[in-house]
């Protein structure tokens, strides 16, 4: 049995591994009215040294790749959302993601941001939720509670389909539990479930992709900052991951060699000096950064470069130009 002193010591040990400095690039937001003071783009370099390589080494070095008999990647996951939001409500979808174990969505009603997770059937144990206060969501049973695995004091969990549960939480601190409950129930009630929901959309299209990985996660964020889209591919081992993301924010990683791909400048190399199988290629593209990261996959830097060369980027600030996840992949 451990003691609270062990907990303190563990936190102190973690803190001792903190990065030494943080780099700030600060700029005023766009002026909302013409008569506001002009935009001043002030770059304050509080510190310029970022120990990203060391940080990543700390993150990645202890991992071990479990080499074993050749296996197949997992089955690809359909990138289609299983719901839409009733357009007659005031709720808007800011972004979301689809994975094998469920779907995430981030929803806003003008001032409050809600997060929602829809678990696939059988993936959520409702026992803890069922200790809460019963609520009704469009005729489906639900509970208002404080889930230990979710954020905030208040969540609702409801059974949106047989043995399939959704959870809504909020970043906002409500004045009362009833206010939080009402807001979360309203969000849940605004969902319309369908087999023909929209596909995840991403701001890039990939022309060349290795065959030993399968698409297992996709996410988009069009209504929030930073705008971004991401596709993650998994290999045969749970450790093996290829992540491709285009985001409106980013930077090169420390220790990367300069590279130019498709006329875009960036960096390429090991994400950490101590882990040979964590490779990255970051490129500054119009409006943001394209990042390609391969973890524990048997790829070379040339492989990453080949993937990057095959990618067509859309306008990050124009989601209408983004690609449905199925058309974003090579056929």
């Amino acid at each position: 049995m451990s003691t609270t002193q062990d907990v303190r010591a563990a936190f102190d040990t973690l803190a001792d591994h903190a990065p030494s400095e943080v780099h700030l690039l600060l700029a005023d937001p766009q002026p909302r009215r013409r008569n506001l003071r002009p935009v001043f783009a002030t770059a304050i370099a509080v510190a310029t040294v970022i120990a990203l390589a060391a940080a990543l080494a700390a993150v990645l070095a202890p991992r071990r790749h479990h080499a074993g008999p050749a296996q197949s990647p997992p089955a690809p996951v359909s990138m289609r959302f299983s719901f839409t939001i009733d357009p007659s409500t005031r709720y808007k979808l800011l972004g979301g993601g689809v994975a094998a174990d469920g779907q995430d969505a981030f929803i806003k009603d003008g001032h409050t941001t809600m997060s929602m997770h829809l678990y696939r059937a059988g993936a959520f144990d409702p026992a803890e939720a069922m200790r809460g206060t019963p609520v009704d969501v469009n005729g489906h049973r639900g509970y208002f509670t404080d889930l230990s695995t979710y954020i905030g004091d208040h969540n609702i969990a409801w059974e949106y389909a047989p043995n399939a549960w959704g959870v809504v939480g909020t970043d906002t601190t409500y004045a009362s539990g009833d206010a939080a409950k009402n807001a979360e129930v309203e969000v849940a009630q605004s969902l319309r479930f369908t087999q023909h929901g929209p596909l995840v959309r991403v701001p890039f299209q990939i022309g060349n992709l290795p065959s030993d990985v399968a698409l297992t996660y996709g996410a988009e964020a069009t209504g929030i900052s930073p705008r971004r889209g991401q596709l993650t591919f998994s290999g045969a081992s749970p450790d093996e991951m290829l992540k491709i993301e285009l985001s409106s924010s980013g930077k090169c990683f420390a220790g990367g060699a300069s590279v130019i791909v498709n006329s875009y400048r960036g960096c390429i190399g090991r994400l950490t000096p101590t882990t040979p199988n964590a490779l990255g290629l970051y490129l500054q593209v119009p409006g943001g950064w394209l990042t390609i990261e391969a973890l524990w996959l048997p790829y070379s830097l040339a492989d990453l470069r080949a993937i990057a060369e095959s990618i067509t980027v859309a306008r990050l600030d124009q989601p209408g130009t983004w690609f449905d996840a199925d058309t974003a992949l090579p056929h």
């Binding site: 907990v7 563990a10 102190d12 803190a15 700030l24 304050i44 509080v46 993150v59």
Partner: protein, 170 residues
């Protein structure tokens, strides 16, 4: 206090707190970076409050718990092991590594409560104020977290003396 003065005086403290909170150096840096960028834009208001550092620390907690940070599917591994291991401290080293690994597996909310209680030395009432929840919720989360960590119930936790000791050694 200007924003630049504040950052120069406190960035190390903020990064250490964020690292204890997240267990991931890259995430800690990202969280602090994003929070300071937002704080910069409304520094006049933040500097005017009684305890601007407490305000910024709360921003860090909120950012860590925010849904924005849960978007990434790449989870922090937090397999950091203590430095300067000596042979006669092998058992202690192993126990420390085990505790860090267990902390990494806690739900974020529970981990946050423990970080505020045992790293920052805050009382349950202060934690509740920081997280915008009830004291009972804090105690419930702490209790569940300590059970998951297989830690003896704290009994009379003297977090404030711990904080004073640790501050003195910084």
């Amino acid at each position: 206090m200007t924003f630049t003065d504040y950052v120069q005086d406190n960035q190390r403290t903020l990064l250490r707190f964020a690292m204890a909170l997240t267990g991931d150096a890259r995430l800690a840096e990202d969280v602090v970076q994003d929070v300071l960028a937002r704080a910069f834009q409304r520094w006049d208001r933040i500097a005017a409050v009684d305890r601007p550092h407490a305000y910024v620390r709360r921003m860090i907690v909120n950012e860590y718990l925010s849904w924005r940070r849960r978007w990434s599917r790449v989870q922090p591994f937090a397999d950091i092991e203590p430095d300067e291991v000596q042979a006669d401290h092998a058992t202690e080293h192993a126990e420390r590594a085990t505790m860090i690994a267990r902390l990494a597996r806690l739900p974020r909310k529970q981990r946050t409560v423990l970080a505020l209680r045992f790293y920052e030395g805050m009382s349950d009432a202060e934690i509740a104020e920081t997280l915008g929840c009830k004291v009972g919720t804090v105690r419930g989360d702490a209790s569940r977290a300590l059970a998951a960590l297989r830690v003896d119930p704290p009994g009379d936790v003297d977090v404030h003396s711990h904080l004073i000791t640790r501050e003195a050694t910084r």
